[in-house]
Symmetry: C2
Subunit: 501 residues, 2 copies
C-alpha cells in the first residue's frame, strides 16, 4: 500500500502543480496582465487545464485508486490516507465523465469571456457579452449532461461547488429565508433614516485605506511572508500553496467600506488556505471542503467579526488617528451604525448582511432558468431587473450595475452563487459554536486579539482540508445540520437593536 500511495501522491502532486500554474496565470490576468495579453492567456489556460485533466483521468490513476480503495478499507475514515483515496476517487469518477474537449473549450471560452465581460461592464454593454454568456451556458448544459443528475439539471453543477448539496434543499432553505428577510427588509426600509452612513462616503485617501487594510489583515493573522494583497477589478483569493496565498481588493476614495471589507472578507478565505495542514500540500485534500464552507470563513470574518461593535471598539480609535478630518466629531456608535446600514442596493458584493442573500436568490433562480432554457438570454436584463424590483424594491439604471456586475458567469461558473448564501448561514452556525466553546471571544475581539478565534477555526475547520463533505464537516463541528435559523436569529437581534424594531 505504501508504494501505491506514494505513486498516487506523486501523480496527484504533478497534476496539482499544473493546476496551480493555471491559478498563477489567472491571478496575473486579474492583477497585472496588459490588455492585449488575453488571447494568448486563453490558449495557455486551456492547455494547462486540458493537460491536468488528461493526467488526472488516466487509466493509471484509475487502477491505483481501485487498488487503494480496497487496501485502505481497514483504515480510519478520518485518516489522511483513507481520506485521500476516498475524496480522490469521488473526484476521479466525476472528472472521468467530462470529455477532454469540453475542459479545453470551457477554458478557452472563459478566458475570452472574461475580457468581453470587463469591456461590457465598463461600457454597460450587455449585447457585447451576451454571445459569450450563451457559449458558457451551452457548455454548462453539456457539462451537466455529461456529469448526469437525478433531480434538476442544476444539481449536476451545484455538486461541483458544494458536494452532495441538492437544488431542492437550497430552494427550501432560501424559501425559509425569504419568509423572514422580506418583511424584515421592509420594516428596516421604513426606518431607513434611523441610520446615516454619509460619513463613509467622505474623501478617504486611497493609500491610507490600503495601509489600514494591510494592518487589519496582519492583525487577523494573515502572514505576509506567505502571501500578499494586490488590486483587481473584483476581489478574490487564490492559493499557490499554503505558503503563497494571494488576496486582492479594490479601493475607492469615496466608498470607505469597499476596500476594507473586501480585505477582511478575502482575509477570511486566506486564513483558511494558510491554515491548511502542510502535510496535505500538493494533494486534492489541500483545499477548502467546499465553496460554501470557504465562504463561511470569509463571511465570519467580514460580518461577525469585522462588522461587530467589538471590532470597532478596538479599531475605531485607530481609524480616527488615520483619518482625523473625515471622522471629526464622529463617535464609535455612529460609526458602527453607519458600517451596518441596511439599504437595498444594486451591487451584491457591497450589500449589507440583511439584503445580501436577496441578491443570491435572484441569481439562483435565473441560473436555473438559463440551464432549463426557460428564458432567452436576450431577455435576461429584463428578468434581472424584475427580480430586483420584487426582492429589493429597486431597479438598476443600467446593466453594468445589473447583470454585468459579477465575474462568475464570465468565468464559466454556473451553480456557484448559492454557496455564498449557504456560507453566510454557516458562518453564524460556526461562530455560535466557537462562542459556546470560548465565551471570551467577543471580549478578545474588543482588544484586537483574534488569535483565539483563529486558532479555534484552525483546529475545527482548517485542519481537515477537503477530507469531509460540507454536511459531514458541519455535523462534526456544530453537531447540527445546515440551518437558516441561527442566521435569522442573529440578524433579528443585531438589526432589531440598530433599528429599534
Amino acid at each position: 500500500m505504501e508504494e501505491k500511495l506514494r505513486e498516487l501522491k506523486t501523480r496527484l502532486g504533478e497534476i496539482k502543480d499544473i493546476e496551480t500554474a493555471a491559478s498563477v496565470l489567472a491571478w496575473d490576468q486579474m492583477t497585472y496582465m496588459p490588455p492585449a495579453g488575453t488571447a494568448a492567456r486563453a490558449e495557455q489556460l486551456a492547455t494547462l487545464q486540458k493537460t491536468a485533466h488528461a493526467l488526472f483521468v488516466s487509466d493509471e490513476i484509475g487502477h491505483l485508486l481501485e487498488e487503494l480503495q480496497t487496501e485502505t478499507e481497514g483504515l480510519d475514515y478520518d485518516s489522511d490516507e483513507a481520506s485521500l483515496v476516498r475524496v480522490t476517487a469521488r473526484d476521479y469518477e466525476r472528472e472521468r465523465k467530462i470529455p477532454d474537449w469540453l475542459v479545453a473549450e470551457m477554458a478557452k471560452a472563459t478566458a475570452l469571456a472574461h475580457n468581453a465581460w470587463v469591456q461590457a461592464r465598463a461600457e454597460s454593454n450587455y449585447p457585447h457579452f451576451q454571445p459569450h454568456l450563451q457559449k458558457i451556458v451551452d457548455l454548462n448544459i453539456q457539462m451537466a449532461e455529461a456529469l448526469g443528475y437525478q433531480g434538476r439539471i442544476y444539481d449536476a453543477l451545484l455538486d461541483l461547488f458544494e458536494p452532495e448539496m441538492k437544488t431542492a434543499q437550497v430552494a427550501q432553505v432560501f424559501d425559509e429565508l425569504k419568509t423572514e428577510l422580506l418583511p424584515l427588509v421592509r420594516a428596516i426600509t421604513e426606518e431607513k433614516d434611523a441610520v446615516d452612513d454619509d460619513i463613509l462616503f467622505r474623501d478617504y485617501d486611497e493609500e491610507k485605506q490600503w495601509a489600514f487594510g494591510l494592518e487589519v489583515l496582519r492583525q487577523m493573522g494573515f502572514d505576509f511572508e506567505r502571501g500578499r494583497q494586490d488590486k483587481s477589478a473584483h476581489p478574490f483569493t487564490t492559493s499557490f500553496s499554503t505558503n503563497d496565498v494571494r488576496v486582492t481588493t479594490r479601493v475607492y476614495r469615496n466608498r470607505f467600506r469597499t476596500a476594507l471589507f473586501g480585505s477582511i472578507h478575502e482575509g477570511g478565505h486566506a486564513l483558511y488556505e494558510q491554515g491548511l495542514r502542510p502535510v496535505l500540500e500538493r494533494t486534492p485534500l489541500c483545499e477548502g471542503a467546499s465553496l460554501g464552507i470557504h465562504e463561511s470563513q470569509s463571511r465570519l470574518w467580514e460580518n461577525l467579526v469585522g462588522r461587530s461593535r467589538g471590532f470597532w471598539t478596538f479599531y475605531f480609535p485607530r481609524l480616527k488617528e488615520i483619518f482625523p478630518e473625515q471622522l471629526d466629531g464622529v463617535d464609535l456608535e455612529t460609526f458602527y451604525r453607519a458600517a451596518n446600514k441596511v439599504e437595498p442596493s444594486m451591487i451584491r458584493v457591497e450589500a449589507d448582511e440583511v439584503t445580501y442573500n436577496l441578491h443570491i436568490f435572484l441569481r439562483f433562480e435565473l441560473e436555473n432558468d438559463m440551464l432549463e432554457e426557460k428564458a432567452k438570454l436576450s431577455d435576461l436584463p429584463e428578468a434581472w431587473n424584475a427580480k430586483m424590483k420584487d426582492y429589493l424594491g429597486i431597479v438598476p439604471a443600467n446593466d453594468a450595475e445589473g447583470l454585468l456586475q459579477d465575474i462568475h458567469w464570465s468565468s464559466g461558473t454556473i451553480g456557484y452563487f448559492p454557496t455564498y448564501a449557504l456560507g453566510t448561514l454557516l458562518s453564524v452556525q460556526f461562530y455560535n459554536q466557537a462562542l459556546a466553546e470560548i465565551p471570551e471571544i467577543p471580549a478578545q475581539i474588543e482588544r484586537g486579539e483574534f488569535a483565539p478565534l483563529r486558532t479555534w477555526l484552525q483546529e475545527h475547520i482548517y485542519v481537515h482540508g477537503k477530507k469531509f463533505t460540507p454536511a459531514e464537516l458541519v455535523k462534526r463541528v456544530t453537531g447540527s445540520e445546515l440551518s437558516a435559523r441561527p442566521f435569522v436569529e442573529y440578524i433579528r437581534a443585531k438589526y432589531g437593536d440598530i433599528y429599534g424594531l
Copy 2:
C-alpha cells in the same frame, strides 16, 4: 503535408503554452511572490518543465518531423514551413539527448538556488550559496555530457544559448578584444579626472525616475497595451506572447543610471519580442535567434542610442524639467560625458561600454574552469578577485559585489555570459548597417524619432524570429561575419573624443 504541419503546430503550441506558463511563474517569482512561496514554486516549475520536455521529445513529434523533413525539402529555405521543421528538428535532436530527470532536477535545483542566492547576496554570504552552485555545476556537467561535444565541454552548453558558436571562436574574439581594450582602459584611467559624473549620484526621486523610464520606453516604441514594466532585484525581459512582453528594472535614489539604462536595455529586448511576427506565435520560431542576437538589440538601444550625444540632445531638456534642482547649472555636454564616464567598477550590469566586456572575459574563463573542474568552488571568490585585479585593477570589498552579483548561475545557466559580449559586438555591426542604409538615423534620434530605426530592425531582424542561426542572420543582415573590429573602432572614436586620447 498540410495536415502533418497542422498536427505538429498543435503539439508545439501546447508545449509552448506550458513553457510560457513556466515563464509566468518565473516572472511572478522575481517580481511579486512572497518569500515563503519558493519551495512550492520550485516544484511547480519542475513539473511544468518536465511536462513540456516530455511532450516535446515524444516519438509522435519525432515521426512528424522525420516525415516533414522529407516533405519540406522542396520548399524555400526561408519559408515559415521549412524553417519551422528545420529549427524544430535541431531542437528535437538536442532535447532527446537530455533525460527527463535532469530537466526536473535542474528546475528544482535552480528554484531553490535562486532563493539562496538572493539571501546570500543580501548577506554577502558566499558559503550559503556555494552548495547550490555546486549542485548547478554538477548538473551542467551532466547536461554537457548528455548533449555531447567535440572540442571543450563548454561547447555543449554555449550551443544552448548561441547555436553553432564554439568556445575556441569566442576565446579568439575575446583575445583580440583584450589586446585592444586593456591598453585603452589603462589610458582612460590615467585621464580619469577628464570626466566627472558626480551629478548622476545626486538625489533623484524614485517615482520621477520611474515615470521618466516609462516615457522613454513609450517613445522607443514599447507598446504598453502589449506589455508592462515592474521592479525586480535584477532587470530582465520575458515574453508570454508577442502581445504580452514584460520588462523589469530597479530604481535607486542616488544612482540615476541604473533605472533608466536598465529600462532602455530591457526595452531593446522587448521591442524584439513585441516585433516578432504574430503568424509565428506559439511555435519555436517565435523567439529571438539566439541570446547573442537578443543582446545585440538591448545593447544597440542602451549604448548606441541611449548613451549617444543625439539621444541626450533630445532628452536632456526634458530631464532638466523633471529634475531642475539636481541638474541646475549642468549643460548637455557635461551630462553626456557623465553618462559615458569610463571607470573600472565591480558590477557588470552597471559597467560602462568600455570596461563591460572585461567582466565577461572573467566569467567566461571561470565558467570554463568550473566545468573542467580546474578550480574548487571554495576557491572561487579568490579566483574572481584575482581576475578583477588583472582586468580591471580593482578588487571587490565583499562577495556581494563580487561573484554573487549575477543571477545567472543561480538560474542554472552556465555558458550564457559570452553572449553578452557577442551581443555587444553585434550591436555595432547591426547599427552600422542601419546607418549605411538610413544615414538620417542620428538626426532622427536627436529629434526623438525612433520609429525609422525600429522599423529597420523590425524588417531586418525581428521579422525572422528564430529561423536562422546567429551566423546566418549576421551574414544576411550585414553581409559579414561576427567581428570585434567595428566595436573597437566605435569605442576608439567615441572615447577618444570624450577623453581626448
